[in-house]
């Protein structure tokens, strides 16, 4: 197999798509409704730190993905199950993302359509892309970034032209105080969508010009943060704090109020399109990360072949993880406080500490294993 390579532009595109993914449409940073746009900006440094952590690991173990250096750092016995947990975790998150797009589609226009079909359509596409390999996936990302940007520009323009924006809805800037804003930034927004960048640890080894990994990644995180923040600020300024905090899909609600020149109405399709695209890439990235880890720890010769089993697992997780969408949300909120930080923050930091210790107190650890 030829080593696939990812150009810096492709990495840039994919990080943006990944970050925007679901965060664009779902309400994020639940507790500080009015200031969520500020919370997003506040969570940015944390996001960059997480990314730097993984580029650091990538520098130390240039040819390995997450599961590889986990085993290098903590040894095979502990590392193997840990890596497996990560694969399972990625499958779970991928399934959650799928559920989110499925539920938006069903709530907004496909109420008669069975959830199986809605999920199967997008999962099938995702599996096809995983099967085709990351090179193709990243090329696709590059094209769709342009598409998403045009979409975003169009819908923002429409909202601006319709005169629905009331900037005063954003006041007071600090809302219920800096404390609440910060609390929603850490851990909520920090974990979702920033710390989720851990999935990219599966792609960093395939980067063509590795010296750009850091710069491009940080730039992409910056750009996507600004886009997210602007979008959420726009949502709040259009539908007001109260409705924003009650809406299942605030962006959708905000866009439905748009009416330009009595002809451009109901731009909901644009939102749905943005979500489909964003979620598609996000869940595919997760599913691919799971595939890559599984291929690594089970020593599969052709990781592409794992597309089907992993895809089917994601599919079932998405259907079975929760009975209702509110439960799904609750589960998400709970896991943010319990399970997710372990995977997204604690374990990586522990890994880093162990790695640094090994590095300082003898090179034995790195070379063995």
């Amino acid at each position: 197999m030829r080593t696939p390579f990812i150009s810096p532009t492709q990495l840039f595109a994919m990080i943006i798509l990944f970050e925007l993914g679901t965060a664009l449409v779902l309400p994020i940073g639940l507790s500080s409704a009015q200031n969520s746009w500020l919370s997003i900006l506040l969570a940015l440094p944390g996001g960059i730190l997480v990314y730097l952590l993984f580029t650091y690991f990538n520098k130390q173990y240039p040819s390995m993905i997450l599961s590889g250096y986990i085993r290098q750092i903590v040894g095979s016995y502990l590392g193997w199950p840990l890596a497996l947990f990560y694969a399972v975790y990625f499958i779970y998150i991928s399934g959650r993302n799928l559920r989110e797009v499925g539920d938006l589609l069903i709530t907004t226009s496909y109420d008669q359509t069975p959830i199986v079909i809605v999920h199967a359509a997008i999962m099938g596409t995702s599996m096809y892309m995983i099967y085709k390999g990351i090179q193709v996936l990243f090329r696709l990302g590059e094209i769709y970034l342009v598409f998403i940007l045009v979409l975003g520009l169009l819908s923002n323009l429409a909202v601006a032209l319709s005169g629905a924006i009331e900037i005063r809805n954003l006041l007071p800037v600090w809302g219920e105080g800096i404390g609440v804003t910060l609390r929603s930034a850490y851990p909520n927004i920090f974990l979702f969508p920033f710390a989720e960048l851990i999935a990219f640890s599966a792609f960093l080894p395939y980067l063509a010009q590795r010296q750009y990994a850091r710069r491009i990644g940080i730039l992409a995180i910056l750009v996507s943060t600004v886009m997210l923040s602007i979008t959420h600020a726009m949502e709040i300024s259009v539908i007001g704090e109260d409705m924003y905090s009650r809406a299942t899909f605030p962006l959708f609600t905000a866009i439905t109020t748009v009416e330009v020149a009595e002809f451009v109405e109901r731009l909901d399709a644009l939102v749905i399109l943005a979500l489909i695209i964003g979620v598609f890439f996000k869940m595919t990235v997760y599913a691919y990360a799971a595939t890559a880890i599984a291929a690594d720890i089970f020593k599969a010769a052709e990781p592409n072949r794992l597309a089907v089993p992993i895809g089917v697992s994601v599919f079932f997780v998405s259907m079975m993880s929760a009975w209702s969408f509110p439960e799904h949300g609750l589960e998400g909120a709970k896991s943010f406080l319990t399970v997710q930080p372990i995977f997204l923050v604690y374990i990586p930091i522990l890994l880093l500490l162990v790695h640094l210790m090994k590095k300082r107190f003898g090179h034995r650890g790195i070379t063995s294993g």
């Binding site: 226009s109 596409t125 090329r139 094209i143 009595e262 002809f263």
Partner: protein
């Protein structure tokens, strides 16, 4: 059991002597007896009446000899003037019969360009069947062939499939020699390389690849040569078949470009692409081909950059309509009624009150009928073709709407889609888009916009996985220079165009050759440039 393609001399026209015969009964060389040779040849060719055997006596010794040529593909005047006449009347050899007579003929009596001494039947047959005249001399176990290719060919005409308003009007013909010459006339560069291949075990065809050394990346030439050498077919019916054989993956999308226009070939060569000529077809292939290249027309180079850019954007818009037009209509009126502005929705609803079909079926029927009319119009003789379109327009457009079977909105959608698909400069791309459009309609009928979005992801994903001669299909950057991207996406002014030199060897020539090609319109200028290029 096949003739292995071999590299020939760069003129690419005549089969070389190196084509060693492999069929057992052909392995033998001609004998020294003239009559044996002639009898053998007659038997081998099944006594075809278009093979002419002219027995003559030549030289001072009046040695028996024979000239054999195929009627129709040889130029009779050349045969008469430069072969028969010189052999019979002007050959004045005092040497003894035998080998040296053949030598004399070769050196003194054949005033034609390409003369070969052939020692095996395989070579003799190939030469004979590609228009050479073969001369056997009694007592010599060798034959000599003179190039007398000619006969009736279609003249150089304006290309019918790719028409431009302003720009050169010459098009390729069925003769590979003419085609190569048409390009060479534009690209007066010594770095223009031509490599010849012969493909086909049963009926070998001449295939030639052409590139500009120094501009093209060597890896593409190597890749293409090795792919050509690996091809095993009985006969090559034209460049279309080759296109399929050279594809990187199985896909409905065209991965090589075909053109009838020498100027497009020379432009592509200067962009670092390779062109493939196949004898017997006026369509020359160009590879590597990327998706966005399919939306460039030759016309783009003969217009102001601003106009060319605007028209290119128009073509992209037409592509989107041709791909998505009916499916968006279906999705909007069966799934997403809320997106249609109220007055429009009311008017659509009023039209559709009497339509007995579901929207998808209605769209499918109309699109289907449209494709049938179009196909009938193309295949019919021109006079009847018009009748077809009248029937199509009147009966389907007018009557179906008036009868309330088809809504007039549907007719508008189908018409816009149809016209948009004609705006595509590349015919085979347009055909693929038609196929995708129909599948897209099915996706739209099943899941509305969601179906369209998902199916587009699949299609674009598929396209991202394609490559043409290992170049990613969706790449904007071919050649791999910043300028390449700009040139693909929009046409940059020619004044700022620079060649994409690859290595030092070709660096000196690139610019001159390019200029020569660009200044083709004015003869005086070309002269000068030609000298520069040398």
């Amino acid at each position: 059991m096949f003739v292995r393609p071999s590299r020939l001399q760069p003129d690419g026209d005549a089969p070389g002597p190196g084509a060693a015969g492999q069929r057992a009964y052909l392995a033998q060389a001609p004998s020294a007896q003239l009559e044996d040779n002639l009898a053998y040849l007659k038997a081998e060719l099944g006594g075809s009446p278009d093979i002419v055997f002219r027995r003559i006596q030549i030289g001072a010794a009046q040695t028996k000899a024979a000239a054999v040529y195929t009627d129709g593909i040889t130029d009779k005047q050349t045969v008469n003037e430069f072969i028969l006449r010189t052999l019979m009347l002007e050959l004045d050899s005092s040497a003894e019969p035998g080998r040296s007579l053949l030598h004399d003929i070769n050196l003194h009596a054949l005033p034609v360009g390409d003369v070969r001494v052939l020692t095996d039947w395989d070579g003799i047959l190939l030469c004979l069947l590609s228009g050479h005249t073969i001369i056997f001399v009694d007592g010599t176990a060798e034959a000599i062939s003179g190039d007398t290719k000619g006969g009736e060919y279609r003249a150089i005409e304006e290309p019918s499939s790719q028409v431009v308003i302003r720009g050169p009007k010459d098009g390729f013909t069925e003769s590979i020699g003419t085609n190569v010459a048409l390009v060479r006339r534009r690209l007066r560069s010594p770095n223009l390389r031509l490599e010849a291949f012969r493909l086909g075990a049963k009926s070998p065809s001449n295939v030639a690849i052409m590139y500009v050394q120094g501009i093209v990346e060597d890896k593409y030439v190597l890749e293409l040569s090795s792919r050509l050498s690996r091809i095993q077919v009985d006969a090559l019916s034209g460049s279309e078949q080759l296109e399929e054989l050279l594809a990187d993956q199985k896909t409905p999308f065209p991965t090589t470009m075909n053109t009838e226009r020498p100027d497009m070939v020379s432009n592509s060569l200067l962009d670092g692409r390779i062109s493939i000529f196949v004898d017997g077809t006026p369509f020359v292939l160009i590879a590597p081909f990327t998706f966005f290249m399919g939306f460039q027309s030759a016309e783009d180079y003969y217009q102001r950059p601003e106009a060319a850019f605007a028209i290119m954007m128009l073509r992209y818009a037409a592509l989107i309509i041709a791909l998505f037009g009916p499916s968006i209509y279906i999705a909007a009126i069966t799934f997403h009624h809320e997106m249609i502005p109220t007055p429009l929705l009311l008017s659509l609803a009023a039209q559709r009150e009497t339509v007995p079909f579901p929207a998808f079926l209605e769209a499918f029927l109309m699109e289907f009928t449209f494709e049938v009319i179009r196909e009938a119009g193309i295949r019919m003789p021109r006079a009847i073709g018009q009748a077809v379109s009248i029937v199509g327009a009147l009966v389907l457009g007018q009557a179906a709407v008036e009868a309330g079977i088809i809504s007039s909105a549907m007719v508008i959608v189908v018409a816009i889609t149809g016209i948009s698909s004609f705006a595509n400069p590349s015919y085979n791309m347009a055909t693929t888009i038609r196929i995708v459009r129909f599948t897209m309609m099915v996706a739209a009928a099943i899941l509305g916009f969601y179906g369209i979005a998902i199916f587009s992801l699949v299609i674009i994903g598929h396209m991202c996985g394609l490559s043409s001669l290992t170049v990613p299909y969706m790449s904007l950057k071919f050649p791999y220079t910043p300028e390449g991207e700009r040139r693909t996406v929009y046409r940059i002014p020619l004044a700022t165009r620079r060649s994409a030199e690859r290595n030092n060897e070709g660096a000196a020539v690139g610019l001159g050759a390019r200029d020569a090609a660009l200044a083709d319109k004015t003869a005086s200028q070309t002269e000068q440039e030609g000298k520069d290029a040398q």
